[in-house]
């Protein structure tokens, strides 16, 4: 099940072991950010925009950490359960705003991130500004990539099915899709819920591989970063946003030498990619559509 080259307790050459340790966190981040990019993709695929992926991730992270530390639940229970709280919040935000144009969902989800940040800061059980530390490392690399592959497969199958066609129709023109009998609000809410599930699981995995979570990790800026994953890659297929996430995760590491100018490059790359590749780096679609 787990790829041998990813396992740290295998007998592998010392050099490779060192390499894996050095880049262990980065490799895990690739998987987690891939999941986050997919959670963004699901929403974008129905023509909506959510800036709440980081907030959903935070809910998954905090709720799962509390399950692990206070309820002492085993990880195989915690991981699937970590999507429950994010889904509840997705419904609370999605139901009123999905009736409106996309901008409303975007702004309401930014609001969600801020409300939650205030909550984490002021309620004792979340540790306030000091966050929660001493989280056991339960998330293994193979779990992270296993979830990513599962999510990719699932979304690929959905994308090829009738649902996928309906989603694409909505993205092109929601009004026309509604006229053709597509249950637009239903699909949109479903997509938001699915995205909350993915982000919640990503949050749980990320929290259980870095020993510390804090209230300032799930705000506006990470939300923007997650959005840029998906838009850089493009949303033609589920693979594209994952590639986008990988590029933007590796970029800061590759540009380490530039220190101060790193964020400038990061921003400019996004600008250039969007201006000259408006459908993302991987603009191809799953199927050819008749024009």
């Amino acid at each position: 099940m787990m790829p041998a080259w990813l396992a740290s307790d295998w007998t592998i050459p010392a050099g490779l072991d060192d390499f894996l340790w050095t880049y262990g966190h980065l490799i895990n981040s690739l998987g987690i950010n891939g999941l986050l990019a997919l959670s963004m993709y699901v929403v974008l695929a129905v023509g909506q925009l959510s800036l709440g992926q980081a907030a959903f991730m935070g809910l998954g992270a905090y709720s799962s950490v509390l399950m692990t530390l206070t309820l002492k639940l085993p990880f195989y229970v915690v991981l699937p359960a970590s999507c429950l709280v994010p889904v509840l919040f997705a419904l609370a935000v999605g139901v009123p705003t999905l009736r409106l144009s996309g901008v409303y969902l975007a702004i309401a989800t930014i609001g969600l991130g801020e409300v939650l940040r205030a909550l984490y800061l002021n309620v004792d059980v979340f540790g306030g500004a000091l966050g929660i530390n001493g989280i056991p490392e339960r998330a293994q690399t193979w779990m992270i990539f296993g979830m990513l592959i599962l999510a990719l497969l699932g979304l690929w199958l959905v994308g090829r099915s009738r649902i996928g066609r309906a989603m694409e129709a909505m993205r092109e023109d929601a009004t026309a899709a509604a006229v053709m009998g597509v249950n637009v609000p239903g699909y949109q809410l479903g997509a938001l819920v699915a995205s909350a599930v993915l982000a919640g699981i990503a949050g749980c995995l990320s929290a259980h591989q870095s020993s510390f979570i804090g209230p300032n990790e799930y705000g506006f800026e990470p939300a923007v970063t997650i959005l840029s994953f998906a838009l850089l890659g493009g949303i033609g297929t589920p693979v594209a946003p994952v590639v986008g996430a990988w590029i933007l995760t590796l970029l800061p590491e590759l540009l380490r030498g530039f220190s101060d100018l790193r964020l400038v490059f990061n921003g400019l790359i996004i600008v250039v990619a969007v201006l000259f590749l408006p459908h993302g780096l991987l603009g191809w679609r799953m199927r050819r559509r008749a024009a």
């Binding site: 980065l26 966050g131 870095s210 804090g214 220190s259």
Partner: protein
């Protein structure tokens, strides 16, 4: 066949030979993770400046009989993931034997366990939150925790007739919050009456609601725990709202920066703050440090620069005493530190915190500059 063996011998022998001679001249890799970009970059940059200054002085003589220290400073951008990647890169690729940093206590909670697991000593120079050194046996800090500084400050305030106090703190900053908790506990212990507790956000610029409320309660003093920018903002607005000399402002560690005077100007006058270091300290070591810092960076050093300057020198001395560029030996040598630097005499407790609080002085702001409180 013979030729092949010979070749093989050569291939094996050459690098070994080269290595032994290179070891002598090879610089000793030391890493650092600090915030060099993003909104909190000012702190990381001050810390980096302090280390660079110390590095030049250390490398002029060298350690372990003339070897230089190669300092590799990585940027965490204040983000957990980047900080973790940076620490792993320093250990895995650059093979550093020790790490200085990171800038924030919350970053230490993420990075500390990883570095500790690899048995590499890591020395925080600005991580004042409670619980930092409890992460593990390889986690040190040279910054005095607030619990050592605040009792001195509050007692000085009481000597000036303060009996009641209102506390204000930035509740979104680990450093500020743990400073506040210490301030509250200390106030209770020394018998100050707390009349109000108010919070704000580190990025806030408006504090009028909290200050107006406090003003109606007429406390003798206001204790502030926040980074320097919001602290200055609170002071400026307090003066606008009519707080005068009758209210004693007391700063936490964050207020101890020359930037306070620069931003708040005369509004900061009269504030008192306890400090393990201050720029006008009269001993020779400190005077030399301040002069050298000004000459090189064209600005005044702050406490973050002073702390990191000492930290690098403490580490260099420990490497020297360890007798080898070996993390385990350096850790043991660090515990036996007995050093006198710009911050004064310095030793570690067995719990790897600073041992001595004798260096704490209470400063007061006068005309935009800190002077020792008489």
């Amino acid at each position: 066949m013979l030729r092949r063996t010979l070749l093989a011998t050569l291939l094996i022998a050459t690098p070994v030979l080269a290595q032994t001679s290179a070891v002598m001249a090879q610089p000793i890799p030391v890493g650092s993770v600090e915030i060099l970009s993003g909104p909190a970059a000012a702190y990381g940059i001050a810390i980096k400046s302090g280390m660079e200054l110390a590095l030049d002085e250390v490398n002029a003589k060298g350690v372990l009989g003339g070897r230089k220290i190669a300092l590799i400073v990585e940027d965490s951008a204040g983000q957990k993931d980047q900080g973790l990647n940076a620490a792993r890169k320093l250990i895995g690729r650059d093979k550093v034997i020790a790490i200085i940093g990171p800038t924030l206590s919350t970053e230490m909670f993420a990075i500390g366990p990883v570095v500790n697991e690899r048995k590499i000593p890591i020395i925080g120079t600005s991580t004042t939150a409670t619980g930092v050194t409890a992460i593990g046996d390889y986690v040190f800090r040279t910054s005095l925790p607030e619990s050592d500084v605040l009792p001195v400050t509050l007692k000085a305030a009481m000597a000036r007739g303060v009996k009641t106090i209102a506390l204000m703190y930035a509740n979104d900053e680990a450093f500020a919050k743990s400073g506040f908790e210490v301030m509250k506990a200390t106030a209770d212990k020394v018998g100050l009456k707390i009349v109000a507790i108010e919070t704000f956000g580190s990025k806030d610029s408006d504090f009028s609601a909290q200050l107006t409320k406090i003003k109606a309660l007429k406390p003798d003093a206001i204790g502030l725990s926040a980074l320097v920018e919001p602290t200055a903002g609170v002071l400026l607005q307090a003066r606008q709202l009519g707080f005068g000399k009758e209210t004693q402002f007391i700063g936490g560690n964050g207020a101890n920066s020359p930037k306070l005077g620069e931003i708040a100007g005369p509004a900061a006058d009269g504030l008192i703050v306890g400090s393990p270091w201050f720029i006008a300290k009269k001993d020779q070591v400190n005077a030399d440090f301040v002069a050298a810092f000004r000459a090189r960076f064209n600005k005044d050093p702050d406490q973050f620069a002073a702390q990191s300057y000492d930290a690098l020198k403490i580490l260099a001395a420990a490497i020297d005493r360890a007798g080898a560029a070996d993390s385990e030996k350096v850790r043991d040598a660090l515990l036996k530190t007995d050093y006198s630097g710009v911050m004064g005499a310095f030793q570690f407790t067995p719990g790897r915190d600073p041992a001595s609080t004798s260096g704490v002085v209470v400063l007061t702001m006068q005309g935009g500059k800190f002077v020792v409180l008489e």
